[in-house]
């Protein structure tokens, strides 16, 4: 009797248990759909629970690999300590507009990549961008020697509005197979051995081929039907400045009172560049540019033999495994030169500026951005990263053969000049005046001298001299 009762009680218990177990289950499934959104929220909540965490934002415009690396850095930084949590905010389009809007709406991001020409110095003058020097002075742990002067964005001699991150040089890319095909010597890797302008033009002429297979030196050459162009140039300040430096000029005259383009050297440089198109027919006209694909595609599909462009093209070419090489830019004057370009990282004027400095320090620390050095996109801006050993460690098999000679060395021997945006006051305004005039030059409607003459006075009126002095 007793046993029977026991068994029946057990069976009932089993039934009840399974019944409740089942009903519990369906709830679980229901929750699942909303689960993913909840976890994100709870993570953040959990982070804030134990200790007060300072949330900061880092805004930047780069997408793709660069964004991925930024996010990786942020993640590592967040893990390295528990007091500050940084979020990467990617703004691919209309960056300046959006930052301006955020600042105007008093929703200032704590750390920003800023374009020196447009916002950095303007904001620094308004104290919206803080002086990094102040943080360096406060921070005894910071290794001052890791900072190189060339990467500092100095508003005045003691106001550091930003620091360069991810330096990228202007360099020459070329398609070795075309040089081999026409039996032409490949351009020199080192700036010491750089071609002079005539050699370069001559080479470009030999490499510019029309439909009939004639090159630009051929009297019967048909400039209306060019199949392969000898060269494409970059039509912005970074595309002209290397040659102006080469001729001993600068963006402004020595006193900082007039634009450099209006000088004899400036006009010569611009004219020589325009002549590539209209005199020698080795470069694209603006109209023919509309039929030309992007730089890396043009290079790999034998549409151009040489390209003057920023080293950022490396990333695409390297990942595509294209057979290409880099070389020193030719010189118009005594010395071959190039220019650096880099974005600046700035600390914005917020309550969380100290936390922002911690992140800036982290991102500027040696090795933080290594993946981008390895992808060929960036060069280091930390002094401690400029050791032969370290440089060799980030140059991979995929880097073009002359990468070290043509891209890294100029950074170390002074061949690469600082970007003009970092050093010229009121740069954007001056540039906006010059650009339409240059349109007249690039369209072949005017000579350099005439084009510059149309805006010289207007541009000079906006010249405010050099920064950081």
């Amino acid at each position: 009797m007793k046993t029977k009762r026991l068994v029946s009680v057990l069976l009932i218990a089993v039934m009840i248990f399974s019944a409740t177990a089942c009903s519990g289950k369906s709830e679980v499934t229901d929750n699942k759909d909303t689960g993913s959104s909840n976890t994100a929220g709870s993570d953040a909540a959990a982070g804030g629970g134990s200790e007060k965490v300072t949330e900061i934002r880092f805004t930047e415009w780069d997408g793709g690999d660069t964004l991925a690396v930024y996010e990786e850095i942020a993640e590592k930084f967040n893990q390295s300590q528990s007091k500050i949590h940084v979020t990467v905010m990617n703004i691919p389009d209309e960056y300046d507009t959006k930052i301006t809007t955020m600042v105007a709406g008093n929703d200032v991001p704590e750390v920003c990549m800023l374009d020196a020409a447009s916002l950095m110095y303007t904001y620094a003058e308004e104290s919206i961008v803080l002086n990094i020097q102040d943080f360096i002075n406060k921070d005894a742990n910071f290794d001052k020697s890791s900072m190189l002067d060339q990467f500092k964005y100095m508003l005045t001699s003691d106001y550091m509005a930003g620091y360069g991150i991810g330096s990228e040089n202007i360099t020459m890319f070329y398609n070795p197979s075309l040089f081999q095909k026409y039996g032409i010597e490949e351009p020199p890797a080192s700036y010491k051995d750089a071609w002079d302008w005539d050699t370069f033009v001559n080479t470009a002429q030999q490499l510019t081929i029309d439909k009939e297979g004639r090159n630009a030196l051929d009297p019967a050459f048909d400039p209306e039907n060019i199949e392969t162009y000898g060269v494409t140039i970059s039509k912005w300040w970074a595309g002209y400045m290397p040659f102006l430096y080469s001729e001993g000029g600068d963006y402004l005259n020595e006193n900082g009172t007039a634009i450099g383009y209006a000088t004899e050297e400036g006009i010569d440089v611009l004219q020589k560049l325009a002549d590539l198109t209209y005199k020698y027919h080795v470069a694209l006209t603006p109209t023919s540019s509309e039929t030309m694909p992007g730089a890396s595609e043009a290079l790999t599909t034998n549409k151009v033999a040489m390209t003057f462009d920023g080293q950022w093209i490396n990333a695409a070419l390297m990942s595509d495994g294209v057979d290409y090489n880099v070389a020193a830019l030719p010189k118009m004057g005594a010395e071959a030169k190039t220019t650096m370009t880099f974005g600046g990282i700035s600390i914005m004027n917020t309550d969380k500026a100290d936390a922002a400095w911690e992140f800036v320090k982290y991102i500027l620390s040696a090795g933080a951005c290594e993946p981008l050095y390895k992808s060929g996109l960036w060069l280091p801006t930390n002094a401690n990263e400029y050791t032969d050993e370290y440089i060799k460690s980030f140059i991979t098999d995929k880097h073009p053969k002359n990468y070290y000679e043509s891209i890294v060395v100029p950074m170390m021997d002074g061949t690469a000049e600082r970007p003009v945006v970092a050093t010229i006051k009121n740069f954007n305004k001056i540039n906006d005046i010059i650009s339409p005039a240059l349109d007249l030059l690039w369209s072949g409607e005017m000579t350099a001298a005439d084009a510059i003459a149309t805006i010289e006075d207007q541009a000079n009126a906006e010249v405010k001299g050099y920064l950081g002095k």
């Binding site: 389009d93 595509d320 007249l440």
Partner: protein, 606 residues
């Protein structure tokens, strides 16, 4: 094999058997219940999941629709842009530098127009002479490429309406050799919006419209497939789920799997579900999927999600199985425990009984097995104890009976000592007495020989009363010669009693006792009475004398039936005991000087 197993089971301990039985009885129902519940719930779960996923698909569709609508809206607003109007209505008189200059203006306008649209990858305004704002992305189309693709014609056909071109391979359709060869680039499968822009605006009551002969620019906006995919990605939380968006032609324009590659046509069966919303089951490669689908009404697009049917119920099933496993484990543990407890309530009394049985086997019938509380074993143990007591009693009885049997046997043997020899000898003596003319002696010898003859002729235990009476009379005859004149004999036995069976020789020893002891020392006047009467089922024999009687000690001597009194009497007692057990009685009344009376009561037996 089966046999061996069966044997093994049979030889298992009670606890093991009980445990197995309990476990089987506990687990089988739990499995049955589990399966039943799973069956009922499965249908339910599939339904709930289907509705869930379908609503997710619907939400995603809305999201996609809204995202694309925002781009359409931006393009719509652009139509009234004055800068664009100025640029494109004066295009005919543009110099190259004007193009360069306007490119910057238009880039700025487009940038601002689409600033809020994070989903836009590339946008540009195409004209046969110039493409505005192409420098912002790595996607740099050329005039030739666009014409080869026929983007301009398609836009013209749509006549100023928005047209989405989807489900195509960028490299192949734009016929660029470079991209056709390239594997995996970001904008391989773009979602492309084109719109012929008929710019116009009104100001101060005047409407400015583009001249008819003016070429209308085409706005091209590319959205990356990955951007579209991010709108639905990981919205469905099932392992192995597949998501796809299909355009009006039935071509996949976005997909998160290799089963439905982008640009391929979806299978007929799925395509047939277009312009409806719901869920159904769908088989691919013999795997059953739950297919949830929903159409995007305005666009004539269609999204679907496939989830392996096993996954739909997998998590729930796993959890169910988990708890099922727990229940089983608990039940198993409970069975073991209960088996141990139950078997101890059974095996303990059995062990006690086994011990008792061992004790009994050694001949100890002390009947002291402790009685347990449980009802069944209480009875068993009590019965066992009772059995022991009974056995003790039976053994006792059997023992005594067997002893008496031995006695009787010996006695019988002793009595049978060659009676024929005696008989013949007596005949010889009788012949001699007749020769000597001693008739008296001869008569005695005849009586004696008759008695002898009777005694060994009839070997039956019981004989008719008449025979016994005859035998007694013979004896009395002999004894009355010996004690001539000492006593008289009176016999009062009704004839109807003569037929009843009585034990042999039961009267003679009593009579002998009266003659030898009662009349001892008397010289005459003795009366010996022998009576019998029927009282119910019994016959009462009375043997009385008027002799000297007995003292109480003698009395006791005689009444001690086994005692050392007269051999004859004790023999009678014992034989009667053996024959009738307790079913007879013998009484004795005696007083010195007045005589002795025996009352012997025997059951009537015919």
């Amino acid at each position: 094999m089966v046999k061996i197993n069966m044997e093994r089971i049979l030889y298992m301990s009670l606890r093991a058997k009980l445990g197995i039985i309990l476990a089987v009885f506990a687990i089988i129902p739990s499995f049955v219940i589990y399966n039943q519940i799973m069956k009922t719930y499965e249908a339910d779960m599939v339904k709930v999941a289907s509705q869930n996923v379908q609503s997710i698909v619907k939400t995603n569709n809305n999201l996609i629709d809204t995202t694309l609508n925002r781009i359409e809206d931006a393009s719509y607003l652009l139509l009234n842009n004055k800068d664009c109007f100025d640029c494109f209505s004066n295009m005919d008189i543009f110099t190259v530098s004007d193009f360069l200059n306007e490119d910057r203006v238009i880039s700025d306008v487009l940038g601002k127009q689409f600033a809020a649209n994070n989903t836009v990858y590339a946008k540009y305004l195409y004209m046969s002479k110039w493409i505005f704002d192409t420098n912002n992305t790595s996607m740099k189309p050329t005039v030739e490429e666009i014409q080869k693709f026929g983007l301009d014609k398609k836009a013209a056909e749509a006549g100023g309406q928005v047209l989405w071109i989807t489900g195509y391979d960028y490299g192949k359709w734009f016929q660029t050799e470079y991209l056709s060869k390239k594997e995996n680039y970001k904008y391989q499968y773009p979602i492309t919006m084109v719109r012929q822009m008929n710019f116009q605006y009104s100001q101060n009551g005047k409407l400015y419209v583009m001249k008819n002969e003016q070429e209308r620019p085409v706005l091209v906006v590319h959205v990356l497939e990955e951007t579209l995919a991010s709108l639905y990605e990981s919205s469905v939380n099932y392992e192995g789920s597949i998501y796809g968006v299909v355009n009006e032609e039935g071509r996949i324009i976005s997909s998160d799997n290799k089963l439905f590659p982008i640009t391929s046509l979806v299978p007929e069966r799925i395509l047939n579900l277009k312009s409806s919303s719901g869920y159904t089951s769908y088989w691919i490669n013999n795997i059953e999927y739950l297919l949830c689908y929903d159409d995007m009404e305005g666009r004539n697009w269609f999204s679907f999600c496939l989830i392996p049917m096993t996954e739909v119920i997998q998590t729930t099933k796993e959890q169910m199985q988990n708890s099922q496993r727990w229940i089983t484990m608990v039940l198993l543990a409970a069975s073991v425990l209960i088996a141990a407890l139950l078997s101890s309530t059974i095996s303990k009394p059995i062990a006690a009984l086994t011990k008792s049985a061992e004790r009994v086997s050694t001949g100890d019938f002390s009947a002291d097995t402790p009685v347990p509380r449980g009802k069944d074993f209480k009875i068993l143990t009590l019965t066992f104890n009772h059995m022991e007591t009974e056995i003790t009693r039976l053994i006792d009885e059997n023992y005594k009976i067997s002893l008496r049997e031995k006695d009787t046997l010996i006695m019988a043997l002793t009595m049978q000592i060659n009676p024929h020899f005696l008989y013949n000898t007596l005949n010889t003596i009788n012949m001699m007495a007749i020769l000597n003319d001693d008739h008296e002696t001869s008569d005695l010898i005849v009586s004696l020989s008759e008695m002898l003859h009777y005694s060994f002729r009839n070997t039956n235990e019981k004989i008719p009363l008449s025979d016994e009476v005859q035998w007694t009379i013979n004896y009395i005859n002999i004894m009355s010669r010996r004690f001539e004149g000492v006593f008289e004999t009176k016999i009062e036995i009704p004839d109807e009693l003569m037929v009843y069976k009585v034990p042999k020789f039961f009267l003679q020893p009593i009579v002998e006792n009266s003659i030898l002891h009662g009349f001892e020392g008397m010289s005459g006047g003795g009366i010996l009475r022998l009576c019998a009467e029927k009282q119910g089922d019994f016959i009462v024999f009375t043997v009385s004398d008027n002799g000297k009687g007995m003292e109480i000690t003698d009395y006791e001597n005689i009444l001690q039936k086994t005692g050392g009194g007269s051999i004859g009497l004790s023999n009678v007692y014992r034989r009667l005991s053996l024959i009738y057990g307790d079913n007879y009685s013998i009484e004795l009344k005696s007083e010195p000087g007045t005589g002795t009376t025996f009352y012997l009561t025997l059951p009537c037996q015919s």
